[in-house]
């Protein structure tokens, strides 16, 4: 395994350098500075803002919602993340393009609402089934 780790690491570093050298050769340095700014900002925003918010939300959930219900809230939120993430930039940009491009013509706010509604409804149904089962005399699992 040690041999493969070394090979992977060396090949990886070489490819990174290939990319960086190409960037330095082909992209003007002022422009490249902006690439570096975006790259750094991405890390800082993720680690300094997005992740702490996620941790705070999960802490709140743990304090406010009992375990049995929390499972379904967590499942709904986790499922909703990708959908919301993709929809937000499209909501922001909807209607910004010439109609002939057939681009961003939809009402993405309504579409996101519909998808989140479906996710919430499914998780609610799941929770209701769970509660009903727990209450049934046989206490079936």
């Amino acid at each position: 395994m040690g041999y493969w780790r070394l090979v992977l690491a060396i090949v990886g570093v070489l490819i990174v350098f290939y990319g960086i050298v190409n960037l330095l050769v082909h992209i003007p340095i002022q422009t490249l500075a902006w690439v570096a700014v975006w790259l750094t900002a991405a890390v800082l925003v993720h680690h300094g803002l997005v992740s702490p918010v996620v941790v705070a939300v999960s802490t709140l959930l743990r304090r406010l919602i009992p375990d049995r219900g929390r499972r379904y809230v967590q499942a709904a939120l986790i499922t909703a993340v990708p959908v919301t993430l993709i929809a937000i930039p499209m909501i922001y940009r909807q209607g910004s393009q010439p109609p002939s491009k057939a681009l961003l013509l939809q009402n993405f706010t309504a579409n996101l609402g519909l998808l989140l509604g479906i996710i919430a409804a499914l998780c609610l149904v799941g929770y209701a089934i769970r509660v009903a089962r727990d209450r049934s005399p046989t206490r079936g699992r």
Partner: protein, 410 residues
Amino acid sequence: MHPLTTADQPPGTGSGPRSRPRWWPRFNSTLRSTALTARLGRALGIAISISLLTGLLSLYQYEPWSWLPAPATPAWGYRATQGVHVAVGTATIPLVLFKLWSVYPNAFRWPPFRSVKRVLELLSLAILIGSILLQLITGFLNVLNWYPFPWDFVSVHHYVAYVVVGSVLLHIGVKLPDIRYGLQTKLPEGDVLTEIPWNENPESHSIAGDLPPPVTPGISRRGVLTAAGAGISIVVVTSIGQALTPLERIGLLAARQPSKGPQGVPVNRTAEEAQVSAATIGADWTLQIDGPRRYKLTLAEIEQQAVHEARIPVAAVEGWSIHATWRGLRLLDVVERAGGNADSHVRVVSFGVGGFRRSEIFGPQLSHALLATHLNGERLNLDHGYPLRLIAPNRPELLNTKWVSQIEVL
């Protein structure tokens, strides 16, 4: 109160290096585990491999090597590979965030910079995370035709891809033992991943021996993977309709709705953007053909000869595509009349302004190409390249030059 300190259950279970400050974040959520991370990482590795291969293929399709002309069959080749590239790239955005969530405590090891090796690792991780987020975000913005950044998208997207892939290989090399442990361990049984590395954590299986699996009071680890997979699947299914026509109707998150384009095909670059208007195309418009035998074709002659029909999909680098029926002249006929043949390299020049105002076509695509006058039974409209545009199978949309004014047999 700092959210991180209150993050995961009561502090101070007695674990971890003694010297760290009391305010240092502690992560006790039992959901996180190398077993979970390794599974997310495996999916991410597959996604990045697919993106790399389809991306390099697209690069080649835009500038095929003269010794290896781009094939013309299957006609839907670029449609499929670029549709996959964009769909997988879009799915990777949430996937990478789930992966990062699963290892977030690793950013809080104490002491933060314990050795040169650790500093180098953190640096390489910053490059990995930054480059992959940059790559995914700008790729998605390109799909939306949104350019809030000052650089040329294509070249930066190309070169940053090497930084991403190289960093991933380095990361796999560094983490290979963890990957192995993670994939070999059953998901519910894996050690809890906290800010304390497993080999310093007295509560890890590796040190404490056989322990009962960690209890996850809320959602289970399996539940996290299922919910994340469900969310990502919804994104893919509701956006792939821009390339997979039968799913267009449920394309709630599809940026494009190809069938809503004029004449049933969307436009990538409008006449206005190329500064083409009906006025710039006078009644005296002619097609100039340069080659061993130069000649000209008038609009009337072209419309008279435009009798060849072909079903050729339009497929764009932004991932959208749709089938269309074209009518026009066979480019090869025009080329042969100028003294060229199927082996010629041909340059098609537009009178539009800006990028992609000329393209080269050779090899199998030349033999299958049309100079189209009609799209889906109607005379081409201005946005689609009136009076004449190039269309060839398995060829990126932007290379199918519109508003053609000149053909050069090279």
